[in-house]
């Protein structure tokens, strides 16, 4: 609670009020900052309950789209039992398949296949965790890095090219490919970071645009023969050499690779960075209040750029681990929706390293389970997307979850005064600040 209070006190300065140039965007951004901060305050109970509610919503959708259930609904009043038994079976089958696909499959043919789902969950989680951490660093520093997608693409592209274009000894090759991924992501994140630090360019817009540039850059590269090195004109690159692949941990039949160690190491690193290092303190400080941070002697432009560079590096590492660990071949859709899923992972993990790690595991599990659910019960894979979305939606609205479960409002006490305080300060600062300064966000303001 103490940390939360401290944040409340520090909050509004980082997001100066309305009369800014380009005000609507700034305003929306500052609201997002509040939302992010509110997120961090709601308790773990809310997270668990959100998952429960999401499963409930998913169940309704599964029932609504199931032909068997629809049939029984047609004669509901004649024999309601049919409807309930059919519904129960459909839901039970779908969710048990989801669980069996994600954790432990007790119906599998061999013991090896039984434990495979858990390893698949970990495989899916690796890039989600890494990219989620990259996004979370931005959130903690008050920056909305929407560019995970582009940074992942660049990371995967660099890692892949090093992976197949060079012949190097075993360990070195892998290391270089991973470094290439880190570098690619860091450069892509760095473009947005430096632009924001030097010119105050809004990082949301820049990173979104960089996503598109990365996508079409990759599409162009994949049409260049010097790049793909396959001799065919399919837009897919050559497979990376064995020496550059992240080695498997459990032998054939499993896809689990050493990337999971990278994900764990990165989680520890980000924790250390944010909670224990000076740089991390500076990063959090500019997130809380760039003006105060500048006054306290923080080099705000430098810290701003570093946040996006490190975030980009982590996303690039995610792309590299995804490519070197599971995909092996670079194609236009290499990033899938990873970059955007990573944002929800970071949100669900409340931008905390451990939380992000666990959220990545959850989303990885939903993905892995969705495959079996679709294959075995014919439930559309889109249900998994609905589950993910509803979970995040509810986590962003804790009062809704509390209302659903009739929970007492744990946060209600600080809520009222906070609003009044915020309003007071807003009017005060509106009067006090000159219009030019009022528009200053973190980066530009500190440059004066």
């Amino acid at each position: 609670m103490s940390e939360a209070d401290r944040k409340n006190d520090a909050a509004p300065e980082s997001s100066s009020p309305a009369p800014a140039p380009g005000g609507a965007l700034k305003e929306a951004e500052s609201r997002l900052h509040y939302a992010l901060r509110d997120l961090a305050q709601s308790s773990w109970v809310i997270t668990v309950l959100s998952i429960v509610v999401a499963l409930g919503v998913g169940a309704v959708l599964i029932l609504a789209t199931n032909a068997q259930v629809q049939d029984t609904l047609g004669y509901f009043f004649a024999r309601p039992g049919d409807f309930f038994s059919a519904s129960f079976e459909v839901i039970r089958d779908a969710y048990s398949a989801l669980f069996r696909g994600a954790v432990y499959d007790w119906q599998a043919a061999t013991p090896q296949r039984s434990i495979r789902p858990l390893t698949e969950t970990l495989v899916n989680a690796v890039p989600l965790i890494l990219a989620g951490l990259g996004i979370a660093i931005g959130f903690r520093s008050g920056m909305l890095n929407i560019g995970g997608q582009g940074q992942i693409i660049l990371g995967a592209t660099c890692a892949a090219f090093i992976g197949y274009a060079f012949q190097l000894p075993l360990g070195l090759h892998l290391l270089l490919a991973l470094m290439g991924g880190v570098l690619g992501g860091a450069i892509w994140g760095g473009i947005a970071g430096v632009l924001k630090a030097k010119t105050g360019a809004n990082e949301v817009i820049v990173t979104i645009m960089l996503n598109n540039i990365a996508l079409y850059f990759l599409a162009w590269l994949l049409r260049q023969q010097w790049f793909v090195q396959t001799g065919s004109n399919q837009p897919i690159a050559a497979p990376v050499e064995d020496s550059a692949r992240l080695f498997g941990l459990l032998g054939s039949g499993f896809r689990l690779h050493a990337g999971i160690f990278i994900a764990i190491a990165a989680t520890v690193f980000v924790w250390w960075l944010l909670e224990r290092s000076t740089l991390g303190f500076e990063m959090r400080a500019i997130g809380e209040n760039p003006e105060a941070a500048r006054t306290a002697g923080v080099n705000v432009p430098k810290a701003t750029a570093l946040v996006l560079i490190i975030g980009g590096a982590l996303c690039g590492l995610a792309g590299a681990a995804h490519l070197l660990g599971t995909e092996y071949r670079l194609a236009a859709g290499i990033a899938g929706t990873l970059g955007f899923d990573a944002i929800t992972v970071a949100l669900l993990g409340r931008s905390r390293p451990l939380g992000t790690f666990l959220a990545g595991l959850l989303f990885g599990g939903l993905r892995a389970g969705g495959v079996l659910m679709q294959a075995q019960t014919g439930t559309p894979i889109d249900i998994v997307l609905v589950l993910q979305s509803v979970i995040v939606l509810l986590i962003a609205a804790p009062p809704l979850v509390r209302a659903i479960f009739f929970l007492p409002g744990t946060d209600t006490k600080p809520k009222k005064p906070r609003h009044r305080r915020r309003a007071l300060r807003d009017t005060a600062s509106r009067r006090a600040e000159d219009p030019a300064l009022a528009g200053s966000a973190q980066g530009e303001g500190s440059q004066r």
Binding site: T72, A78, A94, N124, G333, V371
Partner: protein
């Protein structure tokens, strides 16, 4: 205070809907043994008595409703299910990371024959074929990199049919300008455009004409692409540009993006469309502006492969659809039957003969090897 409590209103509505919809008669028999596709779960799964065969299909990122090859393959599977009374399983991929797990899930579900739709699934299906020698695999629009014994490639030399379409377009065009564009620059798209370009050239050489082709240069392999297989608006914009440059026949090779082209042509009022993959006269709502279609018989190929496999005659011999085996072809002219010259129709038949006999070779670096 308020005359209507929202809650009351809502429950009234709910009850009303329920009462209206739920008064049907209960069926005499237990409905669970219906042989529907969605009733795979629970006890309803033990359906067919005579044939014990499961055919499966994994889509690429387009999904089953892409109005293009995923949907075609899905239709082929549905036809086979009806005719042979086999079991089936399908998996839609939402991104490239899903290909491997989806194919693996199909293998685990005991699929005797698994199809991957699209060249993107090449590696995933190839790997599964090598690892499961007792099962059969099919790959649509691509060949197996390591030629396994149990893998059958289903590819289509659409250049041959597009050649005919190019000839017809050039012969029918009144402005002397025709156009084509693709979704993404991949061989299974550009092979259409290569054939179309050659067909236009053929008309020009044969008749000393100078019909111009917009949107594709076969020599440099450069042309117009909408960028994906989803954005109909991009197709519309591209087509409007072609129309502004006097084109009066456009062939979009971009799945549903072609619908945007159709809309632009309908607005223009004085141009025609050539559809691809399926007979657009039947599969789209734009039959009245479709001159003809370049058809790719994916459903038939999938159906035939399943038939072979059910009969135990599966072979790894690749299926190459061409004019000779009618795996590709030109659709009827439908509404424009009278507008196309009899001479041109005769010439088309001649060309088909020539291509089948090998006298005319439609060359394309994008054609399946």
């Amino acid at each position: 205070m308020r005359p209507f409590n929202p809650k009351t209103l809502f429950s009234l509505a709910a009850v009303g809907v329920l009462a209206l919809s739920a008064c049907g008669e209960a069926p005499e028999e237990e409905p669970e043994n219906e042989n529907t596709e969605t009733a795979e779960n629970g006890e309803a799964a033990e359906a067919p008595e005579d044939v014990d065969f499961t055919a499966c299909l994994v889509s690429d990122a387009g999904g089953w409703d892409d109005q293009s090859f995923n949907e075609s393959a899905y239709n082929g599977l549905q036809n086979a299910i009806e005719d042979f009374d086999i079991d089936s399983n399908t998996a839609e991929s939402s991104s490239e990371a899903d290909f491997g797990p989806n194919v693996d899930a199909m293998v685990q579900q005991g699929c005797d024959l698994t199809f991957g739709v699209g060249f993107m699934l090449e590696d995933a299906v190839d790997e599964a074929a090598l690892a499961n020698e007792d099962l059969s695999f099919g790959l649509i629009d691509s060949t197996f990199p390591s030629d396994p014994e149990n893998g059958k490639a289903l590819v289509f030399n659409t250049a041959e049919a597009a050649y005919l379409a190019g000839y017809v377009a050039a012969a029918t065009s009144e402005t002397g300008v025709v156009a084509t564009f693709g979704g993404i620059q991949i061989p299974s798209v550009t092979v259409f455009m290569d054939g179309f370009a050659d067909g236009v050239d053929r008309y020009n050489t044969d008749n000393g004409a100078e019909v111009q082709l917009l949107g594709w240069d076969k020599e440099s392999q450069n042309g117009s692409f909408s960028g994906d297989f989803e954005d109909q608006n991009a197709g519309r914009t591209l087509t409007e540009q072609f129309l502004a440059q006097d084109a009066d026949i456009v062939m979009p090779v971009a799945g549903p993006v072609g619908l945007g082209a159709a809309a632009a042509i309908e607005d223009h009022g004085d141009a025609l469309l050539i559809w691809v993959d399926t007979d657009g006269y039947e599969s789209t709502d734009y039959g009245d502006i479709i001159l003809t279609s370049v058809m790719k018989q994916i459903p038939q190929a999938v159906y035939d492969t399943i038939e072979e496999a059910v009969a135990g005659e599966f072979s790894s011999e690749p299926y190459i659809g061409d004019l000779e085996n009618e795996g590709v072809g030109l659709a009827p002219f439908h509404d424009y039957e009278d507008e196309v010259d009899g001479e041109v129709k005769e010439k088309i038949d001649e060309l088909i003969e020539e291509i089948i006999s090998g006298e005319t070779v439609v060359e394309s670096e994008n054609a399946p090897q």
